[in-house]
């Protein structure tokens, strides 16, 4: 029974961790020692090669607003996995987890994007040398 569990788990993993990078390595831009998590509102999404970028306004408790630029996977690879350019859109309230750029700007590599209803969007990229979820 345990073997059956493991086999099923492997199938699920293989179905959900299709790699998407290839344009550049994770370490070329992002710092795995700088994890970030924030809630905010999507202001724009660019469904373009080589990476989908979306922009999020995250308001802190003191009222200041951080304008985040978030990198997601490659649009062709995302489309092959069933995602569409309107899977995430301006106005969506989301929680983003990922890693900040080494240059300290409000730029980040998104590894997890969760909508207000709890559903996940754009399953994370992998095999770019970056940390797994």
């Amino acid at each position: 029974m345990r073997a059956a569990w493991l086999a099923l788990f492997a199938v699920v993993l293989s179905a959900t961790t299709v790699p998407m990078f290839g344009h550049h390595s994770f370490a070329a831009e992002y710092d795995q020692n700088s994890p970030v998590t924030f809630k905010g509102v999507v202001t724009k999404l660019d469904w373009m090669n080589p990476h989908v970028y979306f922009y999020v306004d995250a308001t802190a408790k003191d009222g200041t607003v951080a304008h985040w630029a978030c990198e997601a996977g490659n649009p062709n690879a995302l489309a092959r996995r069933g995602w569409k350019k309107n899977s995430l859109k301006a106005g969506d309230q989301i929680t983003v987890q990922g890693f900040r750029a080494k240059d300290g700007t409000f730029t980040m590599n998104a590894r997890s994007i969760v909508l207000a209803d709890g559903s996940k969007v754009f399953a994370a990229s992998s095999d770019d040398g970056g940390p797994l979820n």
């Binding site: 699920v12 959900t16 831009e29 240059d103």
Partner: protein
């Protein structure tokens, strides 16, 4: 227990149903195949993809046979210097093991590869011509091939040292000599073996083999310069754009 077992099944179904609803551009029908090459030559026509292999050394399975110079170059490289991070070309072989499919078109005397990545192409002459003499190096080099049974053997020289072999940062000199074999192992599979011989970077030739699988759908457009927002953020020795 039975109910618990249903959870992974449901997750699988969700993943598969997501695939079934892929954006229309991801499920466009295959283009018409070129005519079979005839003369008992292996038919490589079609759309194919290899497993994404960002680090050739991991696939090689043991430390690469670096020269002292090659080892130092790899140890001190910056990922932010990767030419492809700036949408510069992949060179002749990196596009094959990128995360994108490609189309092979055989015609008399030539095999053409149409890469989805960067919307680029590579030509392999099979008409018996030799390499040009005193050729200036180019991003893709000069490729000539010869059919032997169900295999095409390809020889490539004149590759600019500006290209990288993979995303992990393995580099090469313009002395690089690449040999490849494409072997038709079934109607829907091609075994690709590549050997890198570069006396500046490596003490001996080394090889990696990967399998190409036939794809069900057409290649898509992938224009790297469309939205390369990464460039200003790379940690790099290059001048800032």
């Amino acid at each position: 227990m039975r109910r618990l077992l249903l959870i992974p099944f449901a997750l699988c179904l969700m993943a598969w149903s997501a695939l079934g609803q892929a954006g229309e551009n991801a499920t466009l029908p295959l283009p018409p195949n070129a005519p079979p090459p005839g003369n008992d030559l292996p038919d490589f026509n079609g759309v194919w993809q290899m497993p994404y292999t960002p680090d050739l050394a991991r696939r090689y399975g043991e430390p690469l046979p670096f020269t002292a110079f090659g080892a130092d170059k790899f140890k001190t490289h910056l990922g932010g210097d990767d030419p492809h991070g700036y949408c510069q070309p992949t060179g002749p072989t990196r596009a094959f093991h990128s995360p994108f499919p490609f189309e092979i078109v055989q015609s008399p005397g030539m095999l053409t590869v149409l890469f989805e990545i960067d919307h680029t192409f590579r030509r392999i002459f099979t008409d018996g011509r030799p390499h040009p003499k005193d050729q200036d190096t180019t991003w893709y080099g000069d490729s000539i091939g010869k059919y032997e049974g169900n295999t095409l053997a390809v020889d490539t020289i004149g590759i600019s040292e500006r290209s990288w072999l993979d995303t992990a940062g393995h580099q090469h000199s313009d002395k690089l000599h690449v040999t490849e074999t494409f072997t038709k192992t079934g109607p829907d599979s091609i075994l690709w073996k590549v050997t890198y011989d570069d006396p500046v970077y490596f003490t001996k030739p080394w090889s990696v083999a990967l399998e190409m699988k036939r794809q069900k759908y057409d290649i898509m457009e992938m224009i790297c310069t469309d939205n390369n927002q990464d460039m200003p953020h790379y940690i790099t020795s290059r001048p800032k754009p």
